[in-house]
Amino acid sequence: MRRPPWWVGGITAVALGLLHLPIAVLIASSFNRSRFAMRWDGFTLDWYFRLLERGDILDALRASLVVALVSTALATVFGTLIALALARHAFSGRRVYQGLLYLPIVTPEIVMGISLLVLFATAGVTLGLGTITIAHVAFNISFVAVVVLARLHGMGRDLEEAAMDLGAGPLTTFFRVTLPQILPGVVAGALLAFTMSFDDFVITFFVAGVGSTTLPLLVYSMVRRGVEPTINAISTIILVVTTIAILVAYRLREEGFE
């Protein structure tokens, strides 16, 4: 392979810098004794400890975790069931359903947020953590289903047919053969769903109502009152949690295909 000319490297460096430098500055600031990003006064964990004293932040963190865990669990079950139906059963309109699966993924979040808000308002549902959770399940089902579907297609039908041929009914076949095979995909889908839920802002903003605040919503309202260094600390935590989840999910998706 030929070495690319020097200016390709230069453009790459600028692009990567623009993407990642702000994040690097944010992470560095969260450990900076100074209140101002421009000045380095030495290393500190003070901003992180200060988070623990803030009741509003801890409440928001708890709300975010509850919403993320519950919506992930529900989306994982439903998404896996949808993937199984699409991959293993012939029914009329199957291709339409498969197409619809990608709709929540490509729909702009703001459209999804407004439409869910209209739905809840029309149905007379009180906005709160419940509606946030339902909204998160709604967009996460697609992500889980798409990941599990890829895994099911990669697996083929032979193993399931072999299990049935050896006397296993549909349920036994699912739990003894299909599930162990698609588990990396299911877990990857769940981690993806957790990440999407944990850091979602736009859709949550529409369906949250008054009084229920998740971490991204709280960060937004805090920023409106001025950037405090504690926000850098929260953001760094969100970044680390989601990065780890995505990395594990990515590893799991790769794994197991020989």
């Binding site: 032979d158 049935m164 041929d165 296993a168 009914g169 036994t172 162990p180 020989e258």
Partner: protein
């Protein structure tokens, strides 16, 4: 092969039909397989042989017709209620289970006591000549193709099924291993008395292993018979052409006639044709040397090519033929088989 007249056939297909959308995969197929028989479904890819086997296993439902096992209809039963066992082309070993757990899978579904399961797994592995203490705890990923094949076989045989289904099980093995496994499968069929239904596209394999062969083409059975029947007395041009090489030409009665290259004699032009033989004059257009034999391709006056097999033991050594030699091809009328229009 046990041929007790009072016993119903182990497997019976009665006018079974199956189509996928517009495509007819199996078109009114009927055949019987006797208990203990090694029965092969032979044909090119897309002929319907695999669909036939999958209907027997229960993975596909026939659109019409009946499938009987030991005289009882099974075409309405799901695969897990059919007492058959299948060896898959891909082996389909469960990658998350050890070899022993793979073999135990069917026995566990039957809720047998643990001690009995362990015993039967051990003897099944020994039956396919895998040492249980060496291989039992291994993962299928750690096995060679031939060893996986044996595990798949053990996993099916451990259930002592009345009928064993095999879907091109030797396709992925190299030539030497394939020959070895052919002999072993044949020996297992005889030793256990299990009925084998074997799907293959390899005519040599089908001839070498089977008691009887059903030759399939385009969703139908062309001919059912012993290997000798289908090779020596092909009923249709397809069967004659699919099993080995053959010369098909217009016979004296105006019907198509097939004669095998190894049944044709090559004589020098002007030499006497043995009495009672049929013959045609021609010219050697090409000679193909194959080691144990040589193919002479003889152009007949009509423009058709005639293939003659010269075995290395006699004719090749006996006379050196050259391209362009004027010759006579001759055969006994018994070796020329009239073909049905098909």
């Amino acid at each position: 092969m046990s041929q007790d007249a009072t016993l119903p056939p182990a497997v019976r297909f009665v006018r079974v039909r199956k189509s996928f959308g517009q495509t007819v995969a199996v078109d009114g197929v009927s055949f019987d397989v006797a208990a203990g028989e090694f029965f092969s479904l032979l044909g090119p890819s897309g002929c319907g042989k695999t669909t036939t086997l999958r209907m027997l296993a229960g993975f596909e439902r026939p659109d019409a017709g009946e499938i009987l096992l030991n005289g009882e209809r099974i075409d309405g039963l799901p695969p897990w209620e059919r007492p058959l066992a299948m060896v898959f082309q891909s082996y389909a070993l469960f990658p998350h289970l050890s070899v022993a757990r793979n073999v135990a899978f069917g026995l566990e579904r039957r809720k047998l006591p643990r001690a009995e399961i362990d015993d039967r797994v051990r003897s099944a592995l020994e039956l396919v000549r895998l040492d249980p203490s060496t291989f039992g705890s291994r993962s299928p990923r750690q096995l060679s193709g031939g060893q996986r094949q044996r595990v798949a076989l053990a996993r099916a045989l451990v259930l002592e099924p009345p009928v064993l289904l095999l879907d091109e099980p030797l396709g992925a093995l190299d030539r030497k291993l394939r020959k070895e496994m052919q002999a072993e499968l044949r020996a297992l069929n005889r030793k256990l008395g299990t009925t084998f239904v074997y799907v293959t596209h390899d005519q040599e394999e089908a001839l070498a292993m089977s008691d009887r062969v059903a030759v399939m083409a385009e969703a139908r059975i062309e001919q059912v018979g012993t290997p000798e029947d289908v090779y020596e007395r092909p009923r249709t041009a397809f069967v004659a052409g699919f099993l080995g090489e053959t010369n098909i030409f217009e016979g004296d009665a105006g019907r198509s006639v097939a004669v095998r290259p190894e049944r044709v004699r090559l004589l020098g032009s002007g030499s006497a044709v043995p009495s009672g033989f049929s013959s045609r004059p021609g010219e050697i257009r090409d000679l193909v040397y194959l080691g144990d034999r040589e193919h002479a391709i003889v152009g007949l006056g009509s423009g058709a090519d005639f293939r003659v097999d010269l075995r290395n033991t006699d004719q090749v050594g006996g006379r050196a033929w050259k391209r362009g030699d004027a010759v006579i091809v001759a055969w006994r009328p018994d070796d020329a088989h009239p073909l049905e229009d098909g």
